[in-house]
Amino acid sequence: MARSAGAVRERQATVVGIHALPYAKNIGMTERNAGARAILAALGDAGLGVADVDGMFRYVWEGTTEMEMARILGVRNLRAFGEVDYGGGAGAPTVALAALAIESGLADVVVCWRARNRSSGGRPWASQYHATGQDQFERPYHIVRPVDGMAFHARHWIHRYGWKPELTGSVAITIREHARRNPMAMMRKPLSMDEYLSARMIADPLRLFDCCLETDAALAMVLTTAERARDLPSCPVYVQGYAMGSGPEMTAMTFFYGDELGATPNRWVAPELWRNTGLSPRDIDVVQFYDAFTFQIPIGFQEYGFCADGEAADYLASGEHPPYNTSGGGLSEAYTHGFNLLVEGVRQVRGTSSDQAPNVRHSMVTSGNVVPTGAIVFSKESW
Protein backbone atom coordinates (compact mmCIF):
# COMPACT_ATOMS: atom_id res chain seq x y z
CA MET A 1 0.00 0.00 0.00
CA ALA A 2 1.62 3.21 -1.14
CA ARG A 3 1.50 6.13 1.26
CA SER A 4 0.82 9.65 0.08
CA ALA A 5 3.69 12.12 -0.09
CA GLY A 6 2.02 14.09 2.69
CA ALA A 7 1.87 11.05 4.96
CA VAL A 8 5.52 10.31 4.26
CA ARG A 9 6.46 13.88 5.13
CA GLU A 10 4.48 13.72 8.37
CA ARG A 11 6.66 10.80 9.44
CA GLN A 12 10.03 12.29 8.54
CA ALA A 13 12.41 11.45 11.38
CA THR A 14 13.16 14.54 13.43
CA VAL A 15 15.68 15.03 16.22
CA VAL A 16 13.94 16.71 19.13
CA GLY A 17 16.26 16.00 22.04
CA ILE A 18 20.01 15.84 22.63
CA HIS A 19 22.19 15.72 25.70
CA ALA A 20 25.79 15.10 26.69
CA LEU A 21 26.84 14.68 30.31
CA PRO A 22 30.04 16.56 31.18
CA TYR A 23 33.00 14.61 29.81
CA ALA A 24 35.52 13.30 32.30
CA LYS A 25 38.61 11.18 32.79
CA ASN A 26 36.54 9.43 35.48
CA ILE A 27 32.81 10.05 35.38
CA GLY A 28 32.37 8.29 38.73
CA MET A 29 29.43 6.09 37.80
CA THR A 30 28.61 3.04 35.73
CA GLU A 31 27.93 3.29 32.02
CA ARG A 32 24.32 2.26 32.61
CA ASN A 33 23.88 4.98 35.20
CA ALA A 34 25.46 7.66 33.00
CA GLY A 35 23.56 6.44 29.94
CA ALA A 36 20.24 6.53 31.77
CA ARG A 37 20.91 10.08 32.98
CA ALA A 38 21.86 11.22 29.48
CA ILE A 39 18.65 9.70 28.07
CA LEU A 40 16.46 11.34 30.72
CA ALA A 41 18.11 14.69 30.04
CA ALA A 42 17.66 14.30 26.27
CA LEU A 43 13.98 13.44 26.82
CA GLY A 44 13.74 16.55 29.00
CA ASP A 45 15.33 18.58 26.22
CA ALA A 46 12.67 17.22 23.88
CA GLY A 47 9.79 17.94 26.21
CA LEU A 48 9.01 14.23 26.34
CA GLY A 49 9.03 11.61 29.06
CA VAL A 50 9.79 7.94 29.52
CA ALA A 51 6.13 7.10 28.87
CA ASP A 52 6.51 8.41 25.31
CA VAL A 53 9.46 6.15 24.40
CA ASP A 54 8.63 3.17 22.22
CA GLY A 55 11.90 2.53 20.39
CA MET A 56 15.59 2.20 21.30
CA PHE A 57 18.68 1.61 19.21
CA ARG A 58 22.25 1.31 20.42
CA TYR A 59 25.76 0.35 19.41
CA VAL A 60 26.58 -3.34 19.88
CA TRP A 61 29.58 -2.10 21.88
CA GLU A 62 27.27 -0.25 24.27
CA GLY A 63 27.58 -2.12 27.55
CA THR A 64 23.88 -1.77 28.46
CA THR A 65 21.30 -3.50 26.27
CA GLU A 66 18.11 -1.75 25.17
CA MET A 67 16.19 -4.14 27.39
CA GLU A 68 18.23 -3.34 30.46
CA MET A 69 17.99 0.38 29.77
CA ALA A 70 14.25 0.19 29.10
CA ARG A 71 13.82 -1.74 32.34
CA ILE A 72 15.83 0.80 34.34
CA LEU A 73 14.01 3.79 32.85
CA GLY A 74 10.57 2.19 33.08
CA VAL A 75 9.73 1.96 29.39
CA ARG A 76 6.58 -0.17 29.10
CA ASN A 77 7.14 -1.67 25.68
CA LEU A 78 9.69 -1.27 22.93
CA ARG A 79 8.03 -1.49 19.54
CA ALA A 80 11.38 -1.18 17.79
CA PHE A 81 14.88 -2.02 18.97
CA GLY A 82 18.22 -3.07 17.58
CA GLU A 83 21.98 -2.66 17.60
CA VAL A 84 24.71 -1.81 15.14
CA ASP A 85 28.14 -3.43 15.38
CA TYR A 86 31.67 -2.31 14.54
CA GLY A 87 32.74 0.21 17.16
CA GLY A 88 32.86 3.75 15.86
CA GLY A 89 31.21 2.81 12.58
CA ALA A 90 27.93 2.44 14.41
CA GLY A 91 27.07 6.09 15.17
CA ALA A 92 25.23 7.31 12.09
CA PRO A 93 23.88 3.81 11.36
CA THR A 94 22.34 3.64 14.84
CA VAL A 95 20.54 6.94 14.29
CA ALA A 96 19.67 5.77 10.77
CA LEU A 97 17.92 2.69 12.17
CA ALA A 98 16.02 4.93 14.58
CA ALA A 99 14.97 7.15 11.68
CA LEU A 100 14.00 4.13 9.62
CA ALA A 101 11.83 2.83 12.45
CA ILE A 102 10.07 6.18 12.70
CA GLU A 103 9.61 6.62 8.96
CA SER A 104 8.20 3.11 8.61
CA GLY A 105 5.79 3.49 11.50
CA LEU A 106 7.40 0.87 13.72
CA ALA A 107 7.86 3.41 16.50
CA ASP A 108 7.09 7.07 17.26
CA VAL A 109 9.63 8.16 19.86
CA VAL A 110 13.04 6.54 19.58
CA VAL A 111 16.07 6.93 21.84
CA CYS A 112 19.71 6.35 20.83
CA TRP A 113 22.57 6.69 23.25
CA ARG A 114 26.23 5.98 23.89
CA ALA A 115 27.74 5.71 27.34
CA ARG A 116 31.31 4.62 27.58
CA ASN A 117 33.88 4.69 30.36
CA ARG A 118 36.73 4.45 27.89
CA SER A 119 39.07 6.37 30.20
CA SER A 120 38.40 5.00 33.70
CA GLY A 121 37.28 1.61 32.40
CA GLY A 122 40.58 0.79 30.73
CA ARG A 123 41.61 -0.10 27.21
CA PRO A 124 39.56 -2.91 25.66
CA TRP A 125 42.53 -4.11 23.61
CA ALA A 126 44.62 -4.71 26.73
CA SER A 127 42.75 -7.87 27.68
CA GLN A 128 42.21 -9.58 24.32
CA TYR A 129 44.70 -12.44 24.38
CA HIS A 130 42.77 -15.21 22.62
CA ALA A 131 42.57 -14.27 18.97
CA THR A 132 39.77 -15.81 16.92
CA GLY A 133 38.47 -15.02 13.44
CA GLN A 134 40.34 -12.23 11.66
CA ASP A 135 42.19 -11.40 14.89
CA GLN A 136 44.23 -14.62 14.84
CA PHE A 137 46.21 -13.27 11.89
CA GLU A 138 46.70 -9.82 13.45
CA ARG A 139 46.84 -9.75 17.23
CA PRO A 140 49.85 -12.06 17.64
CA TYR A 141 51.87 -9.33 15.85
CA HIS A 142 50.53 -6.66 18.25
CA ILE A 143 48.06 -5.34 15.73
CA VAL A 144 45.77 -4.87 18.69
CA ARG A 145 45.26 -1.14 19.19
CA PRO A 146 43.01 0.80 16.82
CA VAL A 147 46.05 2.90 15.92
CA ASP A 148 47.92 -0.21 14.77
CA GLY A 149 45.40 -0.93 12.03
CA MET A 150 45.10 2.73 11.05
CA ALA A 151 48.86 3.07 10.61
CA PHE A 152 48.95 0.81 7.53
CA HIS A 153 46.24 2.84 5.79
CA ALA A 154 47.89 6.12 6.79
CA ARG A 155 51.27 5.13 5.38
CA HIS A 156 49.61 4.05 2.16
CA TRP A 157 47.82 7.41 1.83
CA ILE A 158 51.04 9.31 2.58
CA HIS A 159 52.80 7.32 -0.11
CA ARG A 160 49.97 7.57 -2.63
CA TYR A 161 49.02 11.22 -2.15
CA GLY A 162 52.26 12.77 -0.97
CA TRP A 163 50.69 13.95 2.29
CA LYS A 164 53.13 15.75 4.58
CA PRO A 165 52.99 15.63 8.38
CA GLU A 166 51.97 19.30 8.29
CA LEU A 167 48.67 18.29 6.66
CA THR A 168 47.55 16.13 9.55
CA GLY A 169 49.16 18.62 11.92
CA SER A 170 46.93 21.37 10.54
CA VAL A 171 43.92 19.09 11.03
CA ALA A 172 44.84 18.48 14.69
CA ILE A 173 45.37 22.22 15.25
CA THR A 174 42.14 23.23 13.48
CA ILE A 175 40.12 20.81 15.58
CA ARG A 176 41.89 21.94 18.76
CA GLU A 177 41.00 25.55 17.95
CA HIS A 178 37.32 24.55 17.74
CA ALA A 179 37.65 22.73 21.06
CA ARG A 180 39.10 25.83 22.69
CA ARG A 181 35.75 27.57 22.16
CA ASN A 182 33.84 24.63 23.66
CA PRO A 183 33.56 24.75 27.47
CA MET A 184 32.83 21.01 27.52
CA ALA A 185 35.92 19.99 25.56
CA MET A 186 38.57 17.91 27.34
CA MET A 187 41.51 19.54 25.50
CA ARG A 188 41.46 23.34 25.46
CA LYS A 189 45.15 24.26 25.46
CA PRO A 190 46.46 25.64 22.17
CA LEU A 191 48.37 23.14 20.01
CA SER A 192 51.28 24.37 17.88
CA MET A 193 52.72 22.72 14.80
CA ASP A 194 56.02 22.31 16.64
CA GLU A 195 54.28 20.46 19.44
CA TYR A 196 52.45 18.28 16.93
CA LEU A 197 55.60 17.42 14.97
CA SER A 198 57.79 16.80 18.00
CA ALA A 199 55.29 14.61 19.85
CA ARG A 200 56.24 10.96 20.14
CA MET A 201 55.19 8.37 17.62
CA ILE A 202 52.56 5.86 18.78
CA ALA A 203 52.44 3.68 15.66
CA ASP A 204 54.40 5.24 12.81
CA PRO A 205 53.36 7.32 10.95
CA LEU A 206 50.86 8.32 13.64
CA ARG A 207 52.03 10.70 16.33
CA LEU A 208 50.41 11.34 19.68
CA PHE A 209 48.21 14.21 18.46
CA ASP A 210 47.01 12.19 15.48
CA CYS A 211 45.17 10.04 18.01
CA CYS A 212 41.90 10.70 19.77
CA LEU A 213 41.31 11.06 23.48
CA GLU A 214 40.32 8.43 26.03
CA THR A 215 37.18 9.73 27.69
CA ASP A 216 34.29 8.80 29.96
CA ALA A 217 31.15 10.05 28.28
CA ALA A 218 27.40 9.59 28.03
CA LEU A 219 25.24 11.12 25.33
CA ALA A 220 21.74 10.59 24.02
CA MET A 221 19.45 11.65 21.20
CA VAL A 222 15.67 11.49 20.88
CA LEU A 223 13.88 11.31 17.53
CA THR A 224 10.22 11.42 16.62
CA THR A 225 8.03 12.19 13.61
CA ALA A 226 7.97 15.63 11.99
CA GLU A 227 4.27 15.77 12.84
CA ARG A 228 4.85 15.14 16.55
CA ALA A 229 7.86 17.45 16.59
CA ARG A 230 5.66 20.41 15.69
CA ASP A 231 3.94 20.14 19.08
CA LEU A 232 7.19 20.01 21.05
CA PRO A 233 9.10 22.98 22.47
CA SER A 234 12.53 22.15 21.05
CA CYS A 235 13.88 23.32 17.71
CA PRO A 236 13.21 20.47 15.26
CA VAL A 237 16.18 19.11 13.33
CA TYR A 238 15.12 17.01 10.37
CA VAL A 239 16.87 13.85 9.23
CA GLN A 240 17.33 14.63 5.55
CA GLY A 241 18.79 11.21 4.77
CA TYR A 242 21.42 8.66 5.58
CA ALA A 243 23.39 5.76 4.17
CA MET A 244 25.46 2.81 5.25
CA GLY A 245 28.23 0.85 3.57
CA SER A 246 30.93 -1.74 4.08
CA GLY A 247 32.78 -2.12 0.80
CA PRO A 248 34.27 -5.45 -0.28
CA GLU A 249 36.56 -7.70 1.77
CA MET A 250 35.79 -5.85 4.98
CA THR A 251 37.82 -6.77 8.03
CA ALA A 252 37.26 -4.20 10.77
CA MET A 253 40.23 -1.80 11.07
CA THR A 254 42.42 -3.88 8.74
CA PHE A 255 40.58 -4.07 5.41
CA PHE A 256 43.87 -4.00 3.50
CA TYR A 257 43.72 -7.60 2.29
CA GLY A 258 41.34 -6.96 -0.63
CA ASP A 259 41.90 -5.57 -4.09
CA GLU A 260 41.45 -1.90 -3.26
CA LEU A 261 44.24 -0.88 -0.91
CA GLY A 262 43.55 2.61 0.42
CA ALA A 263 39.82 2.84 -0.34
CA THR A 264 37.69 3.05 2.80
CA PRO A 265 33.98 2.27 3.25
CA ASN A 266 33.36 6.03 2.79
CA ARG A 267 33.83 5.36 -0.89
CA TRP A 268 30.72 3.16 -0.82
CA VAL A 269 28.64 5.26 1.56
CA ALA A 270 29.16 8.54 -0.33
CA PRO A 271 27.13 7.87 -3.51
CA GLU A 272 24.35 6.36 -1.42
CA LEU A 273 24.30 9.37 0.89
CA TRP A 274 24.11 11.87 -1.95
CA ARG A 275 21.38 9.90 -3.68
CA ASN A 276 19.37 9.33 -0.48
CA THR A 277 19.58 12.99 0.56
CA GLY A 278 19.28 14.56 -2.88
CA LEU A 279 22.26 16.70 -1.91
CA SER A 280 25.86 17.10 -3.01
CA PRO A 281 28.95 18.19 -1.09
CA ARG A 282 28.31 21.81 -2.20
CA ASP A 283 25.11 21.79 -0.13
CA ILE A 284 26.86 20.86 3.13
CA ASP A 285 27.37 23.87 5.40
CA VAL A 286 29.23 22.09 8.19
CA VAL A 287 30.56 18.56 8.61
CA GLN A 288 31.65 16.34 11.49
CA PHE A 289 34.01 13.68 10.16
CA TYR A 290 34.74 10.73 12.41
CA ASP A 291 38.12 11.59 13.87
CA ALA A 292 39.60 8.82 15.94
CA PHE A 293 42.68 9.80 13.90
CA THR A 294 43.57 12.99 11.99
CA PHE A 295 44.03 11.05 8.75
CA GLN A 296 40.28 10.40 8.61
CA ILE A 297 39.65 14.09 7.84
CA PRO A 298 41.51 14.47 4.52
CA ILE A 299 40.45 11.01 3.34
CA GLY A 300 36.89 11.91 4.31
CA PHE A 301 36.87 15.11 2.27
CA GLN A 302 38.22 13.14 -0.69
CA GLU A 303 36.00 10.10 -0.48
CA TYR A 304 32.77 12.03 0.08
CA GLY A 305 33.62 14.10 -3.00
CA PHE A 306 34.24 17.51 -1.42
CA CYS A 307 37.45 17.45 -3.45
CA ALA A 308 38.95 15.05 -5.98
CA ASP A 309 40.98 11.97 -5.08
CA GLY A 310 44.45 13.11 -4.03
CA GLU A 311 43.53 16.80 -3.64
CA ALA A 312 42.77 16.97 0.08
CA ALA A 313 45.99 18.79 0.99
CA ASP A 314 45.38 21.62 -1.51
CA TYR A 315 41.67 21.68 -0.70
CA LEU A 316 42.21 22.06 3.03
CA ALA A 317 44.90 24.69 2.47
CA SER A 318 42.55 26.64 0.19
CA GLY A 319 40.04 27.27 2.96
CA GLU A 320 37.20 26.45 0.57
CA HIS A 321 36.03 23.58 2.76
CA PRO A 322 33.09 23.74 5.17
CA PRO A 323 33.98 23.98 8.87
CA TYR A 324 34.67 20.53 10.29
CA ASN A 325 34.58 18.94 13.74
CA THR A 326 33.38 22.18 15.27
CA SER A 327 33.06 20.92 18.85
CA GLY A 328 36.58 19.54 18.88
CA GLY A 329 35.58 16.05 17.75
CA GLY A 330 37.16 12.89 19.03
CA LEU A 331 40.59 14.46 18.94
CA SER A 332 39.98 17.36 21.31
CA GLU A 333 36.41 17.37 22.69
CA ALA A 334 35.85 13.75 23.74
CA TYR A 335 36.15 10.31 22.22
CA THR A 336 32.70 8.75 22.38
CA HIS A 337 32.67 6.47 19.33
CA GLY A 338 31.38 9.47 17.43
CA PHE A 339 28.21 10.24 19.35
CA ASN A 340 29.51 13.70 20.24
CA LEU A 341 29.80 14.31 16.49
CA LEU A 342 26.12 13.43 16.06
CA VAL A 343 25.10 15.73 18.89
CA GLU A 344 27.26 18.54 17.49
CA GLY A 345 25.76 17.99 14.04
CA VAL A 346 22.31 18.61 15.55
CA ARG A 347 23.51 21.65 17.49
CA GLN A 348 24.80 23.20 14.28
CA VAL A 349 21.30 23.03 12.79
CA ARG A 350 19.74 24.38 15.98
CA GLY A 351 22.27 27.22 15.99
CA THR A 352 23.59 26.36 19.45
CA SER A 353 27.14 25.17 18.76
CA SER A 354 29.97 26.71 20.75
CA ASP A 355 31.58 27.36 17.37
CA GLN A 356 28.52 27.96 15.24
CA ALA A 357 28.82 27.91 11.46
CA PRO A 358 26.78 30.61 9.69
CA ASN A 359 23.40 29.86 8.08
CA VAL A 360 23.45 26.11 8.48
CA ARG A 361 20.83 24.38 6.33
CA HIS A 362 22.53 20.99 6.00
CA SER A 363 24.84 19.47 8.62
CA MET A 364 26.62 16.22 7.83
CA VAL A 365 28.02 13.64 10.26
CA THR A 366 30.07 10.59 9.33
CA SER A 367 31.06 7.55 11.35
CA GLY A 368 34.26 5.55 11.65
CA ASN A 369 35.50 4.75 8.17
CA VAL A 370 37.99 1.98 8.92
CA VAL A 371 35.08 -0.22 9.89
CA PRO A 372 31.66 -0.70 8.26
CA THR A 373 30.11 2.71 8.53
CA GLY A 374 27.52 5.27 7.58
CA ALA A 375 26.72 8.96 7.37
CA ILE A 376 23.73 11.16 8.02
CA VAL A 377 22.58 14.68 7.12
CA PHE A 378 20.57 16.80 9.57
CA SER A 379 18.65 19.69 8.01
CA LYS A 380 16.92 22.92 9.00
CA GLU A 381 13.91 22.35 6.77
CA SER A 382 11.71 19.30 6.45
CA TRP A 383 11.22 17.33 3.24
Binding site: W125, Y129, Q134, Y141, D204, T251, L261
Partner: protein, 148 residues
Protein backbone atom coordinates in the same frame (compact mmCIF):
# COMPACT_ATOMS: atom_id res chain seq x y z
CA UNK B 1 47.73 -15.11 43.56
CA UNK B 2 45.88 -17.76 41.61
CA UNK B 3 47.68 -19.36 38.69
CA UNK B 4 44.51 -21.06 37.46
CA UNK B 5 43.98 -18.79 34.47
CA UNK B 6 47.15 -16.83 33.82
CA UNK B 7 46.91 -14.45 30.88
CA UNK B 8 49.07 -15.70 28.02
CA UNK B 9 52.09 -13.51 27.56
CA UNK B 10 51.34 -12.90 23.87
CA UNK B 11 47.97 -13.01 22.13
CA UNK B 12 47.64 -16.49 20.68
CA UNK B 13 45.78 -17.61 17.58
CA UNK B 14 42.71 -19.71 18.32
CA UNK B 15 42.20 -21.64 15.07
CA UNK B 16 38.99 -23.25 13.94
CA UNK B 17 38.36 -25.83 11.22
CA UNK B 18 38.62 -23.19 8.49
CA UNK B 19 41.98 -21.85 9.66
CA UNK B 20 43.71 -24.84 11.27
CA UNK B 21 45.51 -25.92 8.05
CA UNK B 22 47.21 -22.52 7.87
CA UNK B 23 48.63 -22.83 11.38
CA UNK B 24 49.56 -26.46 10.83
CA UNK B 25 51.52 -25.32 7.77
CA UNK B 26 53.33 -22.64 9.77
CA UNK B 27 54.35 -25.24 12.36
CA UNK B 28 55.96 -27.23 9.51
CA UNK B 29 57.65 -24.13 8.09
CA UNK B 30 55.28 -23.88 5.12
CA UNK B 31 53.16 -20.90 4.13
CA UNK B 32 49.81 -22.16 2.86
CA UNK B 33 47.29 -19.93 1.10
CA UNK B 34 43.97 -21.06 -0.34
CA UNK B 35 43.56 -21.07 -4.11
CA UNK B 36 40.22 -21.79 -5.76
CA UNK B 37 40.28 -25.04 -7.72
CA UNK B 38 37.75 -23.70 -10.22
CA UNK B 39 38.72 -20.10 -10.96
CA UNK B 40 42.28 -19.95 -9.66
CA UNK B 41 41.66 -17.02 -7.30
CA UNK B 42 44.08 -16.71 -4.37
CA UNK B 43 42.11 -16.13 -1.17
CA UNK B 44 43.07 -14.46 2.10
CA UNK B 45 41.95 -14.53 4.91
CA UNK B 46 40.95 -18.21 5.07
CA UNK B 47 37.39 -19.09 4.07
CA UNK B 48 35.32 -22.17 3.31
CA UNK B 49 34.11 -20.99 -0.12
CA UNK B 50 35.72 -19.12 -3.01
CA UNK B 51 34.48 -15.53 -2.82
CA UNK B 52 34.71 -15.07 -6.59
CA UNK B 53 32.96 -18.19 -7.94
CA UNK B 54 31.52 -19.71 -4.73
CA UNK B 55 33.19 -23.10 -5.26
CA UNK B 56 33.51 -24.79 -1.84
CA UNK B 57 36.71 -25.88 -0.10
CA UNK B 58 39.45 -23.90 -1.83
CA UNK B 59 42.57 -26.10 -1.53
CA UNK B 60 45.47 -25.02 0.65
CA UNK B 61 48.44 -24.36 -1.61
CA UNK B 62 52.05 -23.87 -0.59
CA UNK B 63 53.60 -20.58 -1.72
CA UNK B 64 57.17 -19.30 -1.52
CA UNK B 65 56.19 -16.25 0.53
CA UNK B 66 58.19 -13.92 -1.71
CA UNK B 67 56.62 -10.52 -2.10
CA UNK B 68 56.87 -6.78 -1.62
CA UNK B 69 56.18 -4.36 1.21
CA UNK B 70 52.73 -2.78 0.71
CA UNK B 71 52.79 -0.83 3.99
CA UNK B 72 54.13 -1.08 7.52
CA UNK B 73 54.00 0.38 10.98
CA UNK B 74 56.36 0.67 13.91
CA UNK B 75 54.90 -0.49 17.20
CA UNK B 76 55.78 1.79 20.11
CA UNK B 77 54.46 2.26 23.65
CA UNK B 78 51.90 1.81 25.06
CA UNK B 79 51.82 -1.89 24.22
CA UNK B 80 50.65 -5.11 25.76
CA UNK B 81 53.07 -6.02 28.56
CA UNK B 82 54.68 -8.93 26.71
CA UNK B 83 55.90 -6.58 23.97
CA UNK B 84 57.19 -3.79 26.19
CA UNK B 85 60.82 -4.98 26.04
CA UNK B 86 60.62 -5.64 22.29
CA UNK B 87 59.67 -2.15 21.04
CA UNK B 88 60.25 -0.58 18.68
CA UNK B 89 59.58 -3.26 16.09
CA UNK B 90 58.10 -3.28 12.61
CA UNK B 91 54.97 -5.04 11.40
CA UNK B 92 54.81 -5.36 7.63
CA UNK B 93 51.88 -5.62 5.26
CA UNK B 94 53.36 -7.87 2.60
CA UNK B 95 51.86 -8.33 -0.85
CA UNK B 96 52.77 -11.83 -1.96
CA UNK B 97 53.68 -12.33 -5.60
CA UNK B 98 50.39 -14.26 -5.82
CA UNK B 99 48.58 -10.97 -5.01
CA UNK B 100 47.23 -11.47 -1.49
CA UNK B 101 48.42 -9.35 1.43
CA UNK B 102 49.37 -10.66 4.88
CA UNK B 103 50.77 -9.16 8.06
CA UNK B 104 54.08 -10.27 9.53
CA UNK B 105 57.03 -9.07 11.57
CA UNK B 106 60.17 -7.61 10.06
CA UNK B 107 62.76 -10.19 11.18
CA UNK B 108 66.40 -11.00 10.53
CA UNK B 109 67.75 -13.87 8.41
CA UNK B 110 67.16 -16.34 11.24
CA UNK B 111 63.60 -15.19 11.90
CA UNK B 112 64.41 -13.26 15.07
CA UNK B 113 62.44 -10.09 15.69
CA UNK B 114 64.42 -6.95 14.94
CA UNK B 115 64.39 -4.14 17.45
CA UNK B 116 64.19 -1.35 14.90
CA UNK B 117 62.09 1.33 13.27
CA UNK B 118 63.11 -0.05 9.89
CA UNK B 119 65.19 2.99 8.92
CA UNK B 120 68.62 1.38 9.30
CA UNK B 121 67.44 -1.58 7.23
CA UNK B 122 66.34 0.69 4.39
CA UNK B 123 62.73 -0.43 4.61
CA UNK B 124 60.62 1.22 1.90
CA UNK B 125 57.34 0.84 0.07
CA UNK B 126 57.88 -1.83 -2.55
CA UNK B 127 60.92 -3.40 -0.85
CA UNK B 128 61.31 -7.07 -1.78
CA UNK B 129 60.95 -9.45 1.15
CA UNK B 130 61.66 -13.11 1.82
CA UNK B 131 59.61 -15.39 4.07
CA UNK B 132 60.91 -16.47 7.45
CA UNK B 133 59.12 -18.00 10.42
CA UNK B 134 59.29 -16.37 13.85
CA UNK B 135 58.85 -18.45 16.99
CA UNK B 136 56.86 -16.34 19.48
CA UNK B 137 56.76 -18.38 22.67
CA UNK B 138 55.85 -21.46 20.69
CA UNK B 139 53.52 -19.82 18.15
CA UNK B 140 55.09 -20.00 14.70
CA UNK B 141 54.29 -16.77 12.85
CA UNK B 142 54.98 -15.97 9.20
CA UNK B 143 57.38 -13.05 9.09
CA UNK B 144 59.63 -11.49 6.51
CA UNK B 145 63.18 -10.31 6.08
CA UNK B 146 64.32 -7.76 3.54
CA UNK B 147 65.78 -9.37 0.40
CA UNK B 148 69.45 -8.59 -0.11
Amino acid sequence: MSAANPAPSFPIPVPDADTQPFWDGCARGELLIQRCASCGRWLWQPRPICSRCQTPDPPWTRVSGAGTVASWTVIRPPTLAAYSELVPFVVLLVQLDEGVRLLGYLVDERGDLLRTDGVAEGLAMGSRVVLRFHDQAGTILPSWTLAV
